[in-house]
Structure formats: C-alpha cells, structure tokens
C-alpha cells in the first residue's frame, strides 16, 4: 500500500477521480479533455499512484510513428535485438500508458491503438508477427486540448468514440486557491489576488488572447514571487508574456494586473 505522501497531490473538482477509477476497473480507455495547465497530467499521475500501477508517458508529436509506440529492432554489434516501445511495454506489464496531446500525432499512428481500445484489448506488432493481449491492469489514457488545434488536426470520430471522456476545466475559485497554496506555500492573500486575477483574465475571451491563464501559470507566478521577484514583474513573466504577443493587448492586460494585485508584497 503506497504511502499517502507518495501520491502526487491532485484536488478533485467534480467526480473525475471516480470516473477514472471506474474506467480502470472496467478496462476502458480514458480521454482527458481540457485546456492546458488545468491538471490533466497531474490527475493521471495521482491516479496511477493510487491504483498502484506504473505510469508510462509518451508526449505525442507530428513525427511520432507506430515504431516509436510499438518498438523497433536495434543493431547491437552484429545482432539485431527487438526493443519494446512504450505502448508494448505497458501492454505487457499492465501499466497505465498516457499519450499526451494525442492530436499532435498523425492519424495513421493513432490508428495503432484502435484494437487496444475496444473489447479486443489486443496489440498487433507487425515486426514481431505477434498479437499481444493486454494484461488486465493495462489502461490507455490520452489527453487532448479541444480548443487549440486547427480544424485539420482534429481527433477522428472513430478514435474518440472508443474512450470514456473526462472533461477538465479551470477549477472553481476555492479549489484553485487551495492548489496554489499547497503547491507554492505562498500566503493566502497573494494567492487570493492571483486567483481573482486569473478569473478576470478568463472572463475576457477575446481574439488575440487565444489561451487564458491556466492554474499552472498562476502557480509559476506564485513561485516567482516567493523567490523574491516583485509581484507585477512575476505576473508579467509567468502569466501575461506566455499569454499573448500583441503589445497593445499586453499593455491593457497589465492594467488589469495593476488593479488586482498591489505591487507591495504582502
């Protein structure tokens, strides 16, 4: 039984942990949807620890091939040796395999997981000529940021339909407050100011500010303030700069920052 302190901290908003756990017990794949920085990866890490399974993470990108997922032959001296890819390893060991930002991978790569995500739970490795049956504890988790992708790169319906989806959004204020304080140890007043500021920026929803301030950005700002940086400089670096490139908008956003956070550290 793992120690409570070994489990990465994740503060639940709705019932996402129950859904995840139920999906694992029923041997279903899970699709985590949500904007960047709201806790998708942290949820997976936390659940993997709670369920006592190893976690194998793959960051997907456009050049990802099925060989990268399934495995390839390596030349060692004069011999060829088969090396399992991360997905194959997870299937054999009954681990949780987490494909982060799956939309980035090409569609012909994504298709490799189809047989794993329906009732068959098998993985056909062409190079080996083997069909592996997944261990009962194996689980596939993918993450996906719906707002970000261009239309040409959407997830195919045939892939989407195979998974149980968990939708994560920006946490409500009290939860976000608790997360920031727990992660950074910053004082409550500054944490509250940051939460209010994040909330205000999220209400804007204008073009020129495509992504809004995530919890991760608020935590980064708090970290910088903790290490001695003045609040406005910390917020500009951690929140505003990453948010947009338009100088006019950035200036007006700093006006919002000035109003919500006083420059004197509390």
């Amino acid at each position: 039984m793992s120690n409570m302190s070994d489990i990465p901290f994740y503060k639940q908003v709705g019932d996402e942990k129950q859904i995840f756990s139920a999906a694992w017990h029923c041997q279903h794949a899970v699709m985590l949807k949500g904007p960047t920085g709201v806790g998708k990866t942290r949820l997976v890490e936390s659940m993997a620890a709670e369920l006592g399974r190893p976690l194998i993470t793959v960051s997907c990108h456009e050049d990802l091939t099925s060989a990268d997922l399934l495995g390839r032959y390596l030349l060692k001296g004069n011999q060829t040796v088969w090396m399992d890819g991360p997905l194959t390893r997870a299937v054999r060991e009954g681990a949780i395999c987490y494909l982060d930002e799956i939309v980035e991978a090409r569609a012909d790569t994504t298709v490799a997981i189809h047989a794993l995500t329906d009732h068959r739970r098998t993985l056909y490795v062409e190079r080996l000529g083997e069909t592996l049956v997944a261990a009962p504890e194996f689980m596939l988790v993918v993450s996906y940021n719906p707002g970000y992708q261009s239309i040409l790169k959407d997830l195919k319906p045939s892939t989407r339909q195979r998974m149980v989806s968990i939708e994560l959004g920006f946490p409500p204020h009290d939860v976000e407050l608790e997360v920031i304080i727990k992660e950074t140890g910053i004082n409550k007043e500054m944490a509250e100011d940051l939460v209010r500021l994040g909330g205000a920026i999220r209400r804007l929803d204008i073009s020129g500010v495509p992504e809004v301030s995530s919890t991760r950005a608020l935590i980064a700002a708090a970290d910088l303030i903790n290490s001695g940086l003045k609040p406005h400089a910390a917020i500009r670096a951690a929140m505003i700069g990453p948010l947009c490139d338009d100088k006019d908008i950035a200036k007006n956003l700093m006006q919002i920052v000035n109003t919500y956070v006083s420059e004197e550290a509390n």
């Binding site: 030349l75 209010r196 929803d205 007006n252």
Partner: protein, 561 residues
C-alpha cells in the same frame, strides 16, 4: 485623456465588451456599453470603474428594475446604488479586486440584499441607507434605458425623449425641493472637512491605495465648500438626430472625416459600355486610415469554429513531407543517413520516403466592406445593415486569419470618381489584432458606392502584395453600384467588366449581402458571372461560404491559365 487602456479591465469584470471614455459631466456612470469616467486620481477612478462594471455583471442594471428607478427621485437611485454595491462586493468576492471590495465593505455594514429586486424595494422603503461617495459614480436610469434599448435596437419614443430631458437634470440638483432630510451620507460629510490625517476615509485610502483622498480636493477648485455638493457640470442632453439630418450627414460625409494616408493615389480606367471602350485614368483611388472614434471598442467576436472548418479546405496547396514511413518517392537525405548508420553498426531511422499532401495554406483574401451611406439604412429587423455587414466581415476575416491565410480588409466608399477611398482596417502582414478590431468598429458609413474602381484596386492589391497562390476577393455589400455620374446600366456594366478583369488576373470574386433588400435581378445581372449570396443574418455565412468561395477560386484559376 485616453482611457482606452481601461477597456479590457471593464470588460473582464462586466463579462462583456465595454468601452471606457472620459465623462463630460464630471460624474462616473454607465449606459451598459460604455463607462464614462470622471476625472480624478487613477486609483480612485478605478474604484468607480470596477464598481460600475461589477454592477453590470451581477444584474443591478437589469431593464425592469431600471425602469422603476426612472419613476423615482434620485435619492432612491442613490440608495439602490449603495445596496447593490454592497451586495455585489459580497457575491463577487472572487471577481472584484481586493482593494475595491474593502472600500465598498467599509461604506455600510448593514444587511446585504439577496437580489437586485430586494435592493430596490429596500431603497424605496429604508430612507436611512447612506449614499456612496462620489468616486463610485451614479446611476443614470434614463441613460441606461437608452443604452440597453440601443443594444436591442429600439428607438425611444417622443414621450420618452421628453421624459429623458425632464429627468436627467435631477442628478445635478443640489437638493430635492420636497424632501427635508439630507440625502448626503455621513461619509460625504466627513470628506467635507479639510481631510485631516486622522480622517477615517483618508486613512483607509492610504492603507489600501497608498494615496491621500484627493477627490474632495480636486473637484472643488473654484467652488470652495463642502463635499456635500454634487458637481453641477452642465446637464448633457443627448438628442436623437432627426432622420433628415442623418441623411445629410451620411450623404455629404459630414462627421468623422477620414484621415488621408498620403497624396499618392492610383488611377484606374472605367468601362463605358456605350462606346465599348475604357475611359482612361478615370477614377482616383486613395488609401486612408480609419479615423479613430471615441468609444469604438476593439474587442473581437467569438471565433466561429464551424466557419473555420469550412474554410480550412479552401486554397490548400501541395506541401512536401519528408521522412515518411511511406511515399511515392525516396527521401534521399534520409536514405543516406540510414545507410551511414547501418554501416557504422547502429540502428537507423527507417523513414526514408517522401510524399506530397495538400496541407499548405496558399490563399490570399481581401475583404471589402461597403462603407457607403446606404448601409446605415435599417434592416427589416431593426438594426442597420451596416452592423450586420460589419459583423459578417468580422467573422470572415477572423476565420481566415485564424487559419493563417493572408487577409487584407478595407472599407470602401466614394464621393465621385475623383475621390474613391479605401479605408484600411487590416493589413496583409499583420494578424487581426486589437488595433485592427478597433478600426473595424470605428468605421462609419458615409458616401457612395463606386464598385468598379473598388474591385479594380482590390484586385490590384491582391496580385501585387500576395503574388503567389490563390486569390479571393470578398465584397460585403448590397451589391448595388451607385455614385455621382455612376448609376443604372452604366454602373452595372462597369462592375461586370471589372469583375471580368479580376477573374482574368486570377482573382476569384464574390459578393455577399446581408439584410439588404436589393433586388435579385440586379444581383444576377451584375454578379451573376462570379458568385453572390444574400443572407438574412451574418451567421448564415457558414452554409454558403465554402461552395461560394471554392467556385470563385476555381473559376478564376481557370480563366487565369
């Protein structure tokens, strides 16, 4: 004083697009779309701004309640403001900045209302509720009503106009004639003194904002006296311009003048169908910057995913993809690397093929927005055609911009053949940013529609500034050409000819009208060779955009070769 930088802040709190301008009457208030800020120290201005925006957000200015306020004395509105500010600070705990919340909470520590309706009832019954200090601003029920109705595009009736003129001055009266008890708050009286350092308000401001309370000092120049006086800076009657005056203004271009960009215009010929020949160097086209307009709010509409999806497949070009697992040809670089790796005893990358796929963006678009006076006519629904056109243009520009295509956007109008104006909203090489959005909102209808010259110039822009790839010209207009000495068959034939010229140089042309009553026969005559669509509402574009644009691009490409 330029207060545009507060626009985002107001919008973030109110939860919708807001503009911020300086108040002409020395009072802070809002009409539901713009917050009018009185002069003062910045930190104190912000309190007023935040308060007004927060009230908007939490329903304090809901129409049915405000209507009731118009029938009451201003004292009721003051008390309502206090109760609502306190309620909003309570429910909006995570919305409002800490400092402002503290200031509001210090005003009055009585029971907090559960709803705006309750606040209104209490404002009418409980006379002991104090008014807030000046810096929070005031409620102007008639201004709000007008503003709210403009959002819903209802005109005020004559009776209401008279009512507005009758009631507005009340806010500037120093005392109600009939009521005996003082309307001013204890706090206002405190501020009346010479602000000693142990003054409660002064200390509070110092602690929170780090400044002295300057409000009582600043306003009272030349008036000397207690802070209990409300500034009497001239009641502003906002009149509705009569229809006739409006016509004159639009037709003769009186109003916000365009600012000329330079003296370098370009001449274009015009086709005279009677002689079957061009009139050389007949029209003079100049590019202008859009004149900035007070209160123009450059906040964008929400991006339309459905429209983007449809437009994404337009104008794609072949793009080479290297290092593929499969493909029609070998990627020589990858092959050489693999050979090298294997020979040196390492494992290599087996992606040695190359393929082409249609993934590149190769489309350049110019969106021309008819900015002539005829578009300020009302639609059947009530709002002017101009608004619908602008919204449509905004949607199309945003969609193409988000896809990464080159988009230029211009308003156009004319005052005769020697004065055809292109009003620059968005350049090709810049994103559809804040500044461009503001220019689009600041654009105002005026003048006439010399379509032929506009099409020729736009086509020229496309072929010179965006030389490679596909070209598309989208004209958002009722499609009806009209100018001085440019009408009926003469004009129609010239436009047909200009369209033909554009197509021959590879520019696909399309006309989209929204809400305009132009007759179908005319549209077919003039735009029949290219493509056109008449929409009732901007959002219908999703249905027509792809087939219309695709056909235009295809036909132009065919003619070009």
């Amino acid at each position: 004083m330029n207060l545009h930088r507060y626009g985002l802040l107001a919008s973030a709190i109110a939860g919708r697009q807001m503009g911020v301008v300086e108040s002409g009457s020395g009072e802070t208030y809002t009409d539901g779309q713009v917050i009018y800020l009185a002069r003062g120290a910045e930190k104190l201005q912000l309190v007023g701004l935040v308060a007004q925006a927060a009230l908007l957000c939490f329903g304090s200015f809901e129409q049915t309640l405000i209507v009731q306020l118009t029938r009451k004395r201003s004292a009721v509105a003051s008390r309502y403001l206090t109760l609502e500010a306190v309620r909003v600070a309570h429910v909006g705990q995570y919305l409002m900045p800490r400092a402002v919340q503290a200031v509001i909470a210090a005003q009055w520590s009585g029971a907090v209302s559960g709803s705006p309706a309750e606040s209104l009832r209490r404002a009418m019954e409980e006379k002991s509720i104090p008014a807030l200090p000046e810096l929070f601003g005031v409620i102007r029920p008639w201004v709000l009503l007008k503003g709210l109705r403009e959002i819903e595009s209802e005109a005020l009736s004559d009776a209401e106009l008279r009512g507005a003129q009758k009631y507005e001055p009340e806010f500037n009266e120093e005392k109600d004639e009939e009521e005996e008890e003082s309307e001013t708050s204890i706090l206002l009286n405190k501020m009346a003194g010479p602000a000693p350092s142990d003054n409660a308000i002064s200390n509070m401001f110092k602690a929170i904002f780090g400044v002295e309370n300057k409000a009582s000092g600043e306003e009272k120049k030349g008036q000397g006296g207690s802070g209990a006086e409300l500034p009497s800076g001239g009641a502003k009657f906002s009149k509705k311009i009569s229809a006739g005056a409006k016509l004159i203004r639009t037709v003769f271009g009186i109003g916000e003048p365009d600012r000329p960009d330079s003296d370098n215009g370009v001449t274009y010929p015009e086709w005279d169908y009677r002689t079957g020949a061009y009139l050389p160097q007949w029209c003079y086209v100049t590019e202008f910057d859009v004149a900035p307009s007070a209160g123009a709010r450059g906040l964008a509409g929400v991006s339309d995913r459905a429209l983007r999806r449809k437009l994404a497949r337009l104008g794609t070009t072949h793009q080479r993809h290297k290092r593929q697992h499969e493909g029609e040809s070998l990627d020589i670089d990858a092959l050489i690397e693999l050979a090298g790796d294997v020979l040196s005893g390492q494992s290599g990358d087996e992606r040695i093929y190359e393929t082409t796929r249609k993934t590149g963006r190769g489309l350049a678009v110019v969106v021309l927005i008819d900015a002539s006076g005829s578009t300020s006519d009302q639609q059947a629904g009530g709002s002017p055609i101009w608004e619908a056109q602008r919204k449509l243009a905004q949607n199309v520009i945003t969609a193409f911009d988000e896809l990464g295509d080159m988009v230029g956007a211009y308003g156009f109008r004319s005052y005769g053949r020697n004065d055809v104006r292109f009003l620059r909203v968005k350049d090709f090489d810049k994103r559809f940013d804040q500044a461009a959005q503001t220019r689009l909102q600041a654009l105002k209808p005026s003048g006439f529609t010399r379509l032929g010259a506009a099409i020729r110039h736009a086509s020229d822009l496309l072929t010179t500034k965006a030389a490679t790839g596909h070209h598309l010209l989208v004209v958002v207009s009722d499609g009806f050409p009209y100018d001085i000495e440019y009408e009926e068959e003469y004009a129609e034939q010239d436009v047909r000819h200009a369209l033909g010229e554009a197509m021959a140089s590879g520019v696909g042309c399309v006309c989209i009208s929204v809400g305009a009553p132009t007759d179908k026969a005319l549209l077919d005559r003039v735009w029949g060779n290219v493509g056109h669509a008449s929409l009732n509402e901007p959002r219908e574009i999703v249905r027509y955009a792809e087939p219309l644009f695709r056909a235009a691009i295809k036909n132009a490409a065919a003619e070009y070769r």
